[in-house]
């Protein structure tokens, strides 16, 4: 099988700081994987490089057998890479429905329509409602996005990403700032969405219950470099990972 995402010898420095140091790995279609590592290990930077928000210094990124290094974020999205952010990136003054609907409209290439009311686009609207249903936000569709609870805003962010029907979805700390209860819920929800939307999913997390609970593959970053890669059991037993990140008592 051909990997959906192939990263080869990727580098990025800010001044003298090597934030991505010769990172290489491949992600298979339909894979559910996690990236872990201490703060400042370069996890979010790596996401930014994949999605074209940051220019890489050297290396190669291939998505669906196509080089995407140096391509604009807009084009990378169009190719099928979706992303939700560490701090929910939503449209605060729009309704929950419209937040997802605008993404559905964009996916369908209907945002260039000038004179038709948004409500008249029934397919995009139905699509948005279905996604909100999957996220469990159906009862809040008419609320303004900024009124939502923190956890729900993060789900809405994921909803916007899903509406673009990505083949690869990147989630940056989906449970950051959530209560233990919300975390449990989010963990199950992400597993459900991964199956339902049939996509490759990579998430950055600090919640080890979630990482070792649902990820098929775990990659550990430390000081910009890939320290270890393997299934949860292998990572859990890895001496280097234990000293660098997990700690002896894990």
């Amino acid at each position: 099988m051909v990997p959906i995402l192939e990263i080869q010898s990727l580098n990025k420095s800010f001044g003298g700081l090597h934030v991505t140091a010769n990172v290489s790995f491949s992600v298979m279609p339909g894979e559910l994987s996690a990236i872990i590592g201490p703060n400042g290990a370069g996890k979010t930077t790596l996401f930014n490089q994949i999605t074209g928000h940051l220019r890489s210094d050297s290396g190669r990124i291939r998505f669906n057998n196509q080089d995407i290094l140096g391509i604009s974020p807009q084009k990378i999205v169009a190719l099928g890479v979706g992303r939700a952010f560490q701090i929910a990136s939503i449209f605060p003054d729009e309704t929950v429905l419209d937040n997802v609907r605008i993404a559905c409209l964009s996916k369908r290439g209907e945002t260039g329509k000038y004179l038709r009311a948004v409500d008249a686009f029934t397919e995009a609207t139905d699509d948005a409602r279905a996604i909100l249903e999957s996220l469990g936000l159906s009862d809040q569709t008419q609320r303004l996005a900024f009124e939502l609870a923190h956890g729900d805003q993060k789900l809405l962010d994921i909803g916007i990403a899903l509406a673009l029907r990505p083949n690869l979805l990147l989630l940056d700390e989906p449970t950051a700032g959530m209560s233990p209860e919300e975390r449990l819920h989010t963990k199950e929800l992400i597993l459900k969405l991964w199956k339902e939307f049939n996509l490759a999913l990579i998430f950055i997390e600090h919640d080890m219950d979630m990482v070792f609970g649902i990820a098929q593959t775990v990659r550990v970053l430390q000081q910009g470099a890939l320290l270890a890669e393997g299934n949860p059991e292998q990572i859990r037993a890895n001496k280097e990972v234990i000293t660098a990140y997990l700690g002896e008592d894990f």
């Binding site: 999605t51 974020p73 807009q74 084009k75 999205v77 169009a78 992303r83 990136s89 939503i90 449209f91 605060p92 003054d93 729009e94 419209d98 609907r101 605008i102 993404a103 409209l105 964009s106 996916k107 209907e110 945002t111 260039g112 329509k113 000038y114 004179l115 038709r116 009311a117 948004v118 409500d119 686009f121 008419q142 303004l144 916007i160 990403a161 673009l164």
Partner: protein
């Protein structure tokens, strides 16, 4: 769904009532002055609403929409002056075409900078046009402006020209309203709220900013062109920063977050100017005080505050 249908009927009824009120003005008064005031409300209303597509909806505060307003007006004034009144309507069309071309070219430049730099750059270009018009006496009439711009044929009749303005303004505002609630308008609001996320929907922020800049400038030029016939004259002030500034004041007064805010703001502004200006030459002082009170106590503007009250006392959600 029934709620939606009811809202649609309400909206249609409101459009009908407002249209009827404006349509009846020449029936109830033969005073040329009152028809003139009503025309001013319509034309300034269109100018302010088109301006607010930039500011309230997309978050781009242009301080230079007078450039296009003046362009529309001078296109009509100069052609009628130099080529005859038969060129009145083609001149309006020419002004619109020039506004599209100029706003596209300038837009490529000014949208590259954001925030206050965009505001200052738009101001600079409008002031440049004002200077040229002011100094180029032989062609533009300098600060004398041009008088005696009479529309041709049946439009020479005051009431006929008034209805001509009424129809064009209503059609334009109707189109802008459709635009504001279309997917395009939604992208514009998203551009204001979270441009980074818009990029991540696969949409280009600057391209959409350029589009709305051209749209806004087009309707500003239409307002200017119509005004040349309303007052039968043009003057360099139409390019001056105060003209851009008045559109901003009207929008703030009515409420920039509601589509019709700027139109209501324009109406109130002009009625105050008209009623107080008749008694004292210090009417700008009154407008200034009202603006101060509005900004400090009622930042949502007239329409915004009314909707807030309606939402508080009515059970219906008055968000949109």
């Amino acid at each position: 769904m029934t709620n939606n249908a009811a809202r649609r009927i309400n909206a249609t009824a409101l459009w009908g009532i407002v249209l009827l009120i404006f349509a009846l003005v020449p029936v109830f008064t033969t005073s040329a002055y009152k028809i003139n005031v009503a025309s001013h409300i319509l034309v300034w209303g269109l100018f302010a609403v088109s301006f607010n597509m930039l500011w309230g909806i997309t978050g781009m505060l242009s301080f230079g929409q007078a450039l296009y307003y003046g362009l529309g007006a001078y296109s009509v004034g100069l052609m009628v002056e130099h080529m005859g009144s038969g060129w009145f309507l083609p001149a309006i069309a020419l002004g619109l075409v020039m506004a599209i071309a100029l706003s596209f070219l300038l837009g490529l430049l000014v949208i590259r900078v954001g925030g206050v730099y965009f505001t200052m750059l738009t101001l600079a270009f409008a002031q440049l046009a004002w200077q040229i018009t002011f100094k180029w006496y032989d062609f533009t009439g300098g600060d004398d402006g041009i008088q005696g711009i009479i529309p041709p044929g049946i439009l020479e009749n005051r009431a006929a020209y008034y209805y001509f303005v009424l129809v064009l303004v209503f059609l334009s505002i109707w189109m802008l309203k459709r635009m504001a609630y279309s997917p395009f308008g939604m992208i514009l609001r998203c551009v204001q709220q979270n441009p980074d996320r818009v990029r991540f929907l696969g949409r280009r922020v600057r391209r959409n900013q350029l589009r709305v800049y051209v749209v806004s400038s087009f309707f500003a030029a239409l307002a200017g062109g119509l005004m040349a016939g309303v007052d039968s004259s043009i003057h360099t002030d139409m390019f001056f920063w105060t003209t851009s500034g008045e559109a901003i004041l009207m929008s703030v007064l009515g409420g920039i977050n509601q589509f019709f805010g700027p139109f209501i703001g324009a109406a109130v502004f002009i009625l105050i100017e008209d009623s107080i200006g008749a008694r004292t030459e210090f009417w700008p002082l009154i407008i200034g005080s009202i603006m101060l009170i509005m900004v400090i106590l009622f930042p949502k503007g007239i329409v915004g505050e009314v909707l807030r009250l309606k939402a508080r006392f009515g059970k219906n959600d008055a968000r949109r």
